[in-house]
């Protein structure tokens, strides 16, 4: 174990931003102020949570990368929700780890759903859904299909399997945010690009997906990750499911190399 060094651009609430804001590309060009920052009119931006400050000059975005356990619904986020009850037009769901207890999932927000053929979901069913309405003043609404194409696109009921809890940062990583961040850092010259062969290069940044990649090479399983910090895993037998879930939960604070080692050890331990 090595000491956990604070990141270079650590910010605490109320700090001065350690890096300059991205310069405007054109007059009147918009800038995206992401999570963890507050804008004080006219031109002050301060962090409101503790974390690592990131700037993307190209997309003109600025945000604070931080971990947490309490989920705040945002538009288009994929989440794992649990059905509570059904009323005439809606399923009333719970989004675990969310700030509000109830979310509405319309009966017609499924692929090929009509008044006559709508999916029958019972209380306790687990659904993979996307947030279609998010406001801090209102309960969120969910949908299980893409409104543009009316295809399910992977959303819908999750049958069987098991649910595991991870932190919000880990969930974002599993959904590919780590990879995006790595691309950004490579572009900014902060980390070195990984070699073509996949061999570990000194100074390279991991994507945080090593655990899933390693599991995928050795076991067959299905996985769905909700941004609310829930991971659903299913496979042919319970032992594989448990092994995958345990690996993901325990790899939270491990480096890429340690994650791969953990997977190898766990598979041996489970006798798979």
């Amino acid at each position: 174990m090595f000491a956990d060094e604070p990141p270079e651009n650590l910010v605490l609430p109320g700090d001065t931003l350690p890096i300059p804001l991205p310069a405007p590309t054109a007059k009147g060009a918009a800038m995206k102020v992401g999570p963890g920052l507050a804008h004080i009119p006219p031109d002050t931006i301060i962090p409101v949570i503790a974390g690592e400050l990131n700037v993307d000059e190209k997309k003109r975005m600025i945000w604070v990368e931080s971990d947490g356990k309490r989920y705040t619904p945002h538009l288009h986020d994929p989440v794992i929700a649990i059905i509570n009850r059904s009323s005439s037009d809606f399923y009333h769901c719970t989004i675990p780890h969310s700030r509000s207890t109830t979310a509405l999932l319309p009966h017609l927000a499924f692929e090929n759903a009509t008044k006559k053929t709508r999916p029958q979901l019972n209380p306790g069913c687990v659904v993979y859904a996307r947030i279609s309405l998010a406001s801090k003043h209102m309960d969120p609404e969910l949908e299980c299909f893409d409104a543009a194409t009316s295809k399910a696109g992977g959303f819908g009921e999750l049958k069987g399997g098991m649910l595991f809890d991870v932190s919000l940062g880990m969930a974002r990583r599993l959904l590919g945010d780590g990879k995006k961040l790595r691309q950004l850092k490579i572009r900014q010259g902060l980390v070195r690009a990984e070699g073509e062969t996949g061999k570990k290069v000194k100074g390279a940044m991991c994507s945080g997906l090593e655990v899933v990649e390693e599991l995928g090479q050795r076991l067959g399983f299905e996985i769905a990750v909700g941004r609310n910090g829930k991971v659903w895993v299913d496979s042919e037998d319970v032992r594989t499911t448990l092994c995958c879930g345990r690996c993901i939960v325990e790899s939270e604070f491990l480096t890429g190399e340690e994650q791969r080692r953990l997977v190898r050890e766990k598979i041996k331990e489970f006798g798979l």
Binding site: A3, D4, E5, P6, P7, L10, L12, P13, G14, D15, T16, P18, G36, A38, H39, I40, P41, P42, T44, I46, V48, I49, A50, G51, E52, E65, S66, D67, G68, K69, R70, T72, R99, S100, T101, K136, H137, S167, G169, R173, G178, R182, V191, M205, C206, G208, S251, E252, F253, L254, T255, G256, Q259
Partner: protein, 303 residues
Amino acid sequence: MAPLSPHPTATLSCLHRADGSASFTHNSTQILASVNGPMEIRARDEHYSKAVLEIIIRPSIGVATYREKYLESRLRGALEPIVLKSMAPRTLIQVVVQIVQVGELGMKKVGATNANEYTPLLLLPSLITTSLLALLDASVPLTSTLDTFLVTVNPSNTDDLDSQIHINPYTSPPLLYTSTSAHVLVYSTSISSPPDWRSREGPYHLTDEAGPETINDSPQQGDLVFVESEGRFSWEVWERVEWLVRRECMGLSGKEDDVNMDVDEEIVVREGDEGRKWGKGMMARLVREVVGKKVGRELRWRK
């Protein structure tokens, strides 16, 4: 008995079921705080435009009494100005602080002759810092961090006012017990804080949303957010205490240099410190160090 240390230690995320938690140890004083939220609130407690901050203090022994209620109200006074409650309307942010062990910051009343007179004042800096750490760990939106100071005044030793004033006298319990007055001062370390104007009550609600004129109402850099004093002291003593602590908070140690400086005179900031002028006190440095480690741990997957 172990030697008393001037430096407190803290760990974050020690309770894994809570959204955020912090444990604070200083000599034999130990405090544990947990934060949950923003989360669902009972309908009758909710506020239509802001989160409700609930603060619960539990004593180390027995059930909570008026003393804990008093501490809760004081702790609220320090935390309420920095929590951005408008970010999560109609929710609850719950701060639970468990006093595990009181230790040398015992509850003896400052300047009391009767041993049965108690005060919880000396515990306040630890309580404030622990709950601030837990709030930061839970990623609850805050406008600023806090720098907390405990000051005692012991006039018996000397006539010189500056040597009577002891900032953070944790290594020396006699200084805590023999003082004639004790003061807790909390400074905001923010550069400038956004106004929580969306949560402002009353008829000004709509006009407030219109413009940024109200920014000055929220704690700015180096604002004295909270103060609590106890014992007998004169106005001059209090002013001197405030001035000395303000210097300490800005990292200017010099009682020696310009002692005769006027209280109202502007304090010049050292070169290179322009970025973050405030928060050089013991508690603020602890907060920055502990939170930095926690964020570093969260980013470990990148290695």
